[in-house]
């Protein structure tokens, strides 16, 4: 499987603040990959580096085999970008923006654009700046889809959208990307939408990459466990993350199975009526990165 995006030993700082050090990841062709992380973990920074709007302190990124920031126009034609906040040329109307972009992309297909626009109750002459945030998101998505690019990069697509528009966006994008075998690299901090969309997740924490895995594998391995005990276990001996004890209720997350964890608790003479819970992606994300 061809690699579409590859970041090698990426390190970036804003002043003295480390965003991440030696970040390595790659995105294979045909996958929908979500870059997840809390605010300020470097999601948009990564997108900016990939698009050449930011120079990392060290390391390099390759997109479709070319170094980020040095992409030839023919390669740029294969990469569609949705900027954070669904930024588009808001001084144009729907007809003008379609006419404008169509000249740049040889595989331009206006059908998905106008199909999405038909769902919006707007006049063709209405300027994008006069549209609601949700309507603007559909215009931006329509443009990204119409470019018919091999790689779609979407930065925080869910920002400012109500649940209906988020669902419309995710369903439309998911259907499009899977049917056309497109590679999608998407960032978001609203994780609940991502579960319906992404195949693989990259989870960023402050300064580092915590995980790169398929969503299916992550959710099948990473579980939440609960037990009731007045004694707090010695967590140092246990393969758990973010343990929490409130009164006699104990909660923790782990990729280890219930049998292993029960054995650990037994060794500490802790009553372990351990309850294993499967998680949604959002719960698993919070479990892995912590609530704070």
């Amino acid at each position: 499987m061809d690699t579409v995006i590859e970041c090698r030993n990426l390190t970036h700082y804003y002043g003295n603040r480390c965003i991440y050090e030696n970040l390595n990841f790659s995105i294979p062709q045909g996958r929908i990959v979500g870059l997840l992380g809390k605010n300020g973990t470097g999601k948009t920074t990564t997108i900016n580096i990939l698009n050449g709007y930011l120079q990392p302190r060290s390391g390099e990124c390759l997109m479709l085999g070319y170094r980020a920031g040095m992409l030839p126009p023919t390669v740029k034609q294969k990469i569609a970008l949705l900027m954070e906040g669904h930024v588009q040329y808001s001084f144009m109307n729907i007809g003008q923006i379609e006419k404008f972009y169509s000249a740049f992309y040889p595989k331009w297909d206006k059908a998905p654009f106008y199909e999405l626009m038909s769902k919006l109750k707007i006049a063709p002459s209405q300027r994008i700046s006069k549209m609601s945030c949700g309507q603007r998101s559909q215009v931006a998505l329509g443009i990204v889809l119409a470019q018919n690019s091999d790689l779609l990069i979407l930065d925080d697509f869910s920002m400012g959208l109500d649940p209906g528009y988020r669902r419309l966006f995710v369903d439309y994008l998911s259907e499009y990307a899977r049917s056309q075998n497109k590679t999608v690299f998407v960032t978001s901090h609203i994780i609940q939408d991502m579960e319906r969309l992404i195949d693989d997740c990259l989870i960023l924490d402050y300064g580092k990459l915590l995980l790169q895995q398929s969503v299916q594998q992550f959710l099948s391995e990473f579980k939440r466990y609960r037990l009731v005990s007045s004694q707090e276990p010695d967590w140092r001996d246990m393969p758990v993350v973010h343990p929490e004890k409130i009164r006699d209720k104990i909660e923790f997350y782990s990729t280890s199975d219930k049998k292993t964890l029960s054995a650990c608790l037994s060794r500490q003479n802790i009553n372990n009526q351990l309850v294993e819970e499967s998680l949604t992606l959002e719960e698993a994300f919070i479990g892995l990165t912590g609530k704070y």
Partner: protein, 222 residues
């Protein structure tokens, strides 16, 4: 692609260009009505005397108009690009960044130059219909730095707007103001006769400056 890029610039600027053209025409009409009225009231001999012997320039109302026109066009073209960092979208278009910047700035420069040429030539034609050739030449040289200031103001706007960091925009703005100010030091008719090279030099300099802003934006300076 270039045509499409020009189409975008046209959409952004068309109403502002119309406003600049109308405002320029109104100012010129006003100035000629005023001079014509003076000629009718006090006689052409007196007006000629004022112009020739007292070194008065009668068409000074247009002095700051090209400056304002350059600023308006520059802002109308580049403020929409700067808001929400929309220029990143523009630089993501499948064209080399140098081409994109050249086309955008070239568009503004060309339409402004065309507008200024029309205004400048019509103004001089009007002056020539009322005054002698020598007075018209002096008027042309008096008006020239003001129109050059308009072109420089446009380029300075690009230089300031495209600069990605606010901290650097302030010195860029001050540099722009200081250099353009030199074109308004004297309003004496024909004061800038021997400074045509200087005027060309500052126009070229602003063109180079704006590339500095584009470069800083491209490498992600914040």
């Amino acid at each position: 692609m270039i045509k499409s890029l020009l189409y975008k610039e046209w959409i952004k600027t068309r109403w502002f260009l119309l406003a600049i053209a109308i405002a320029g025409a109104i100012i010129e009409i006003y100035m000629f009505l005023r001079v014509g009225r003076s000629i009718r009231l006090v006689g052409a001999e007196h007006i000629w005397d004022v112009v020739v012997n007292r070194d008065q320039f009668l068409f000074y109302h247009i002095k700051y108009f090209p400056l304002a026109a350059g600023i308006v066009l520059g802002l109308s073209q580049f403020i929409p690009e700067v808001i929400d960092k929309r220029i990143k979208l523009t630089f993501h278009l499948p064209l080399p960044e140098k081409t994109i910047t050249s086309v955008m700035t070239g568009y503004g420069f060309t339409v402004l130059l065309a507008l200024f040429l029309i205004q400048y030539v019509s103004l001089l034609a009007g002056i020539r219909s009322l005054f002698a050739f020598e007075i018209t030449v002096t008027a042309a040289l008096t008006l020239l730095p003001w129109f050059v200031a308009g072109i420089c103001a446009y380029l300075a706007c690009v230089f300031v707007c495209v600069e990605p960091s606010w901290r650097m925009r302030i010195p860029n703005f001050l540099i722009g103001v200081a250099i353009i100010r030199t074109l308004f030091i004297s309003g004496f008719p024909g004061a800038y006769i021997k400074m045509s090279l200087f005027m060309i030099a500052i126009t070229v300099m602003f063109t180079l400056f704006l590339w500095l802003s584009v470069y800083r934006l491209k490498i992600g300076r914040q």
